[in-house]
């Protein structure tokens, strides 16, 4: 086996071994009429589950909600995260403690973060509305029109540290030479950032955005803890919708179809974007 195949083999073997069976089984279920409470009544229905999903307006709503959430949350996290990473890189004192401390929001299990903010932002019991109240402001954090943005802010609180972690590691790994050259040539900080930092950081940025976006797509715990998808279906994300359909309403075949359809959509977008990036990098 060639070197590259040998390096790849353990990963593939483990992947197929650990995940292959569940993935195939779930795919099989998506082609059946499987319901947990009617297991004896399962038969192959081909693509009719997918057809049902495509015609389900709630599914598309959930995709839209999730899409909005991912776009806004990741953009916010990227911008803030990059600024913090740059600031951390230049920090001279108390470095390690600051860095570890700023990472802590990531370490709290999301359901606890959800419950924490549910009470923190509660009009009667929460600290933040109490402070806002003293300033004369009253804001319905989880009211109609606001709930999704509140959830985005919660996600930002918890996951900006992820961006910070990744971008900082990327920044620390960059070679010093180009920065020296730029400094010697008198380039402004902004110019250095735009023409030196960002292009060299590009691979890390791409991965950061990709991984965080995929993770953000799975947002569930905040919705579950605070709004249960409401008001109306304003915060009904795709993961919440799939969970309800498959586990709460027992229609696992349908839920599997939803998931595989989502996978197809996401992979298409991701591959498309990657090809675009590759092409622009090469030119």
């Amino acid at each position: 086996m060639s070197f590259r195949a040998r390096m790849m083999a353990p990963l593939l073997a483990l992947f197929v071994g650990a995940v292959g069976y569940p993935l195939l089984y779930a795919f099989y279920l998506s082609l059946t009429s499987y319901r947990i409470t009617h297991r004896w009544d399962t038969h192959l229905v081909g693509l009719s589950q997918y057809n049902d999903v495509l015609h389900n307006s709630d599914y598309w709503s959930a995709l839209k909600v999730t899409g909005t959430f991912v776009f806004l949350a990741v953009t916010l996290e990227l911008c803030i995260g990059l600024m913090i990473a740059l600031a951390l890189q230049r920090q001279k004192r108390v470095r390690d403690f600051t860095r570890s401390f700023l990472l802590t929001p990531m370490f709290v299990t999301p359901i606890a973060v959800g419950l924490m903010f549910r009470f923190l932002l509660n009009q009667q019991l929460g600290a933040l509305p109490a402070v806002l109240g003293h300033l004369g402001i009253t804001y319905d954090f989880f009211g109609s029109g606001n709930a999704l943005y509140s959830i985005i802010l919660i996600d930002t609180w918890q996951w900006t540290p992820f961006m910070v972690l990744l971008l900082l590691a990327g920044l620390e790994g960059l070679p010093k030479q180009p920065f020296e050259a730029a400094r010697v040539d008198g380039a402004s900080a902004f110019y250095t950032f735009r023409r030196v930092t960002v292009p060299m950081l590009a691979p890390v940025l791409v991965v950061a955005i990709l991984i965080r976006s995929l993770d953000a797509m799975k947002v569930f715990e905040y919705v579950y803890a605070i709004t249960r998808g409401g008001p109306g279906i304003e915060t009904q994300t795709i993961q919440y919708f799939t969970y309800q359909t498959g586990i709460q309403f027992f229609r696992l075949g349908n839920a599997s179809a939803m998931s595989y359809l989502l996978l197809a959509i996401v992979l298409t977008i991701v591959v498309f974007l990657f090809r675009r990036i590759e092409r622009s990098r090469r030119s």
Binding site: P22, F101, R183, V207, I211, S259
Partner: protein, 282 residues
């Protein structure tokens, strides 16, 4: 190799806005992170009715919540989560770094493999959990933490691999080529020369992979035995029918942060900071 063309700028002192703005930003960020935790800290010492008062800051601390939480086995649950996390991450880093190197340098498996391993990342746990359970039963691993490790590998391994692909992509090829010219085998070059370069990346991946595993609720709930619950399951257990046991949950949250905080302090000190001076010679 990228050639940098830096135009001749005017010979004015370069304006560095980062000096003070940077520190200010860090202070603000620190506060934004700190304040909810402060609320949690205060809450862990409050009694039921005290918790209903958001502005109560000065009061006599009550240890009932802490006693309740510690006696409910939260430390053991944290230990189990840590065990699962460490095993998952260790496997993922070893296997993932090798695979990521192969993909980064040789484009092994093409797009199909690269994106294929993301499949488990995208599919919701709700849909995969019963198939995982079924597999666990067939392998007679049901009701063990091993089943949880396998489920966690499904989403930690791809993430770690993708991170490392990015970091390997960012590491210039010249260094290992130089090492091989100097006589090292490809694997030795990989191990001794390339890996240290991406050490910051590996550190970050390890932390993040651990966090993903540490935070997982759903797989741990269904696949792990009830009397050997992991930390998120325990914490979620404070959300009872008679209401969220806020005080106890606050204590539990703090218990869940401290070990990871300490661990990440050391990891990021050793790895994320990387090797100062760099190994790059142009």
């Amino acid at each position: 190799m990228t050639t940098l063309v830096v135009p001749r700028a005017r010979r004015t002192k370069s304006f560095n806005p980062w000096g003070h703005a940077g520190s200010l930003l860090l202070v603000v960020a620190g506060l934004v992170v700190l304040l909810p935790f402060l609320w949690v800290l205060l809450g862990s010492f409050k009694t039921g009715s005290q918790l209903n008062d958001p502005t109560l800051i000065v009061f006599r601390p009550n240890l009932a919540n802490w006693r309740d939480v510690i006696s409910s086995g939260i430390l053991q649950a944290a230990g189990r989560s840590a065990l699962v996390g460490v095993i998952t991450v260790s496997i993922s880093i070893v296997v993932g770094s090798m695979g990521a190197y192969s993909i980064s340098r040789y484009k092994t498996g093409g797009s199909a493999t690269r994106f294929g391993i993301l499949a488990a990342q995208v599919l919701p746990p709700a849909v995969l959990v019963f198939p995982f359970l079924d597999m666990a039963f067939r392998l007679r691993l049901n009701d063990t933490l091993a089943a949880v490790v396998i489920a966690h590998l499904s989403f930690v391994m791809p993430v770690v691999t993708w991170f490392l692909i990015g970091f390997f992509d960012a590491a210039p090829k010249e260094i290992e080529e130089q090492a091989m010219v100097d006589g090292l085998s490809r694997f030795a070059a990989f191990r001794k020369v390339v890996l240290p370069q991406v050490a910051p990346g590996m550190g970050a991946s390890a932390i993040f992979g651990f966090v993903l595993s540490w935070n997982d609720l759903f797989y741990a709930l269904i696949l792990a035995p009830g009397n050997a619950a992991t930390l998120p399951v325990r914490i979620a257990g404070f959300n009872t029918f008679r209401g969220v046991e806020l005080g106890s949950m606050c204590a539990a949250i703090l218990v869940s942060i401290v070990p990871v905080l300490i661990a990440s302090f050391f990891i990021q000190r050793r790895l994320v900071r990387g090797i100062s001076g760099g190994a790059v010679k142009f």
